[in-house]
């Protein structure tokens, strides 16, 4: 039996029996450790520290997931396996995976070596780049880009835009008589559109039409699901519901305009969009990291910098916050963590409304 006489708090924290006592109150272990403490009263300090270590290490992450999100995700998996994977052959144009086991094994090997290959050579060299050209009955210029592999694939479109397709995604592309670039998406895709003001780029999903001039953005819209999600990385897009589109309301000002770091979900139930700030906003303007080192800096100045850096609007009472200042290093945190840390520092709270961040504060005094 171990005596634990010379154990450091770290060693205690790593001992299975010790952890079982702290975390699960296991009977045998509890009896042992209580007895041990009686015999080693000078070890109280080590035990207390080790105990804190064990408990502290079980801290839940900042960014947890809500119950609602969990059930939405699970529903999506179930929908996917039922509608896509289980559909009888012939009903769908393609499948995510063939089912026989040895093929799966071969594909898995391919995935891991592809991952290694990408890491080593960058994406360009492994681009499959050759669309499976299927001729549609209605339009001979239509090209279908299908990613039937299990990793994302980047394709070059005929207009030299590029699109990165998630596994199982299909994108149809054609140019109509007016020269408009028309695409039809089933799945999850990241677009980098080549700017051409005279030839709008349009993405059609079930219920949503996205119109862009030149920009990068992502759209998720799987057949069999009403959900459509559009998120913008750079530039500007306008989104329309199918209803608005069919009613001829197609000028950019009549649609919902999304700029960098904004996203919108289409709510099929009432045919409207829910607009929000994307989860992990990217800097729209390169700002040196050291600019996010603050020493007694007025908070309003910090907010100005954040607005400029992320292209996101912050709403707050400038007058009220003018006496607040902050000393902090916020260079690495994603946007929302920056906001959260600042709010903690000045005793404020924040809330995201309609793709803007609203700061509630009572001021500093």
């Amino acid at each position: 039996m171990k005596t634990y006489q010379h154990y450091s708090p770290e060693e205690l924290a790593l001992d299975g029996s010790f952890r079982r006592w702290i975390l699960h109150g296991n009977e045998t272990d509890s009896a042992f450790w209580q007895d041990w403490l009686l015999k080693n009263p000078d070890k109280q300090g080590e035990v207390a520290t080790a105990r804190q270590l064990v408990i502290a290490m079980r801290q839940t992450p900042f960014r947890d997931i809500s119950d609602a999100q969990v059930s939405r995700d699970i529903t999506r998996v179930l929908e996917t396996v039922v509608t896509r994977v289980e559909a009888p052959p012939g009903n769908r144009r393609h499948f995510i995976f063939p089912v026989s086991t040895w093929k799966v094994a071969a594909i898995l090997v391919l995935i891991s070596s592809a991952g290694w290959w990408i890491g080593r050579h960058g994406f360009k060299e492994i681009l499959s780049g050759h669309p499976q050209e299927t001729l549609s009955a209605t339009d001979e210029t239509r090209k279908d880009f299908i990613n039937s592999t299990s990793i994302t694939q980047k394709f070059a479109l005929p207009d030299h835009s590029t699109v990165t397709l998630a596994p199982g995604t299909t994108l149809g592309y054609l140019e109509n008589a007016a020269g408009e670039r028309i695409t039809e998406l089933d799945g999850d895709a990241f677009f980098e559109v080549r700017p051409d003001p005279r030839r709008p780029f349009l993405v059609f999903n079930n219920n949503v039409i996205t119109k862009v001039l030149g920009t990068s953005f992502r759209i998720r819209s799987w057949a069999g699901s009403n959900a459509v999600q559009v998120t913008v990385h750079t530039g500007k897009v306008s989104v329309f519901s199918r209803k608005e589109w069919d009613a001829g309301k197609t000028t950019p000002s009549s649609g919902l305009i999304l700029t960098a770091n904004q996203g919108a979900d289409f709510v099929a139930a009432n045919g409207t969009f829910h607009k929000y700030v994307v989860r992990n906003p990217l800097k729209v303007q390169p700002v040196p990291e050291q600019q996010f080192e603050f020493s007694s800096t007025p908070v309003v100045e910090i907010f100005d910098l954040i607005e400029k850096t992320y292209g996101i609007e912050l709403v707050y009472d400038r007058q009220l916050l003018q006496d607040c200042a902050l000393t902090a290093s916020l260079s690495d945190e994603p946007l929302l963590e920056k906001i959260q840390l600042i709010c903690q520092g000045i005793n404020a709270t924040y809330q995201e409304t309609d793709a803007r961040i609203v700061i509630h504060s009572k001021g500093c005094h």
């Binding site: 708090p9 952890r19 992450p61 900042f62 947890d64 994406f123 902050l326 000393t327």
Partner: protein
Amino acid sequence: MTAAKTEDITLWQKLCDGNVAAFEQIMNGYYRQLFRYGIRILPDEEIVRDCLQDVFIDIWIRRPALQSVNSVNFYLIKAVRNRLLLARRKDRSVAFPDNWTEKAAFISEITIESELILEEEQRLHATKLETLLNSLPPRQKEIIHLKFFEELSSDEIAEIMSLNRQSVYNLLHETLRKLRSLWLVTLSLFTI
């Protein structure tokens, strides 16, 4: 714990036989826990959620071949980890950008450390502690999570992280020592 594990194996067998309800139950039981693991090694919620969904879809497709799995928890963690590492590698070279880089993890460690000052009380505030944990390099963050959150054995961690048993212990020990040295100190944010 043991009871739960036996129950999981029963559910898993049903899943392999094509029982959707069992599949859903497994997801309900593990989704959040796997998300918490994923977000530790790749701090981008969307990518983590995408990976989790892919892992489960993949499990369903490959279910006839998964009869021999004997620890559901262990199998899922490994599957999620492989998928996330793939996503992370892919992510660096193309599209879906995120803020994660190995380098950034180390920078944050240094800046946070220099911003840390001694606090009188030994009380650990959850947010501050989380900041500390987040400031660890990725492998240290992961190993702490596997040991204390998932309560995996050293052998299991060794297999997941491709380390030998001794290295697992050493890395855990080193990480805990580092955390303890930052123990009393905390991120300073002042109002004036």
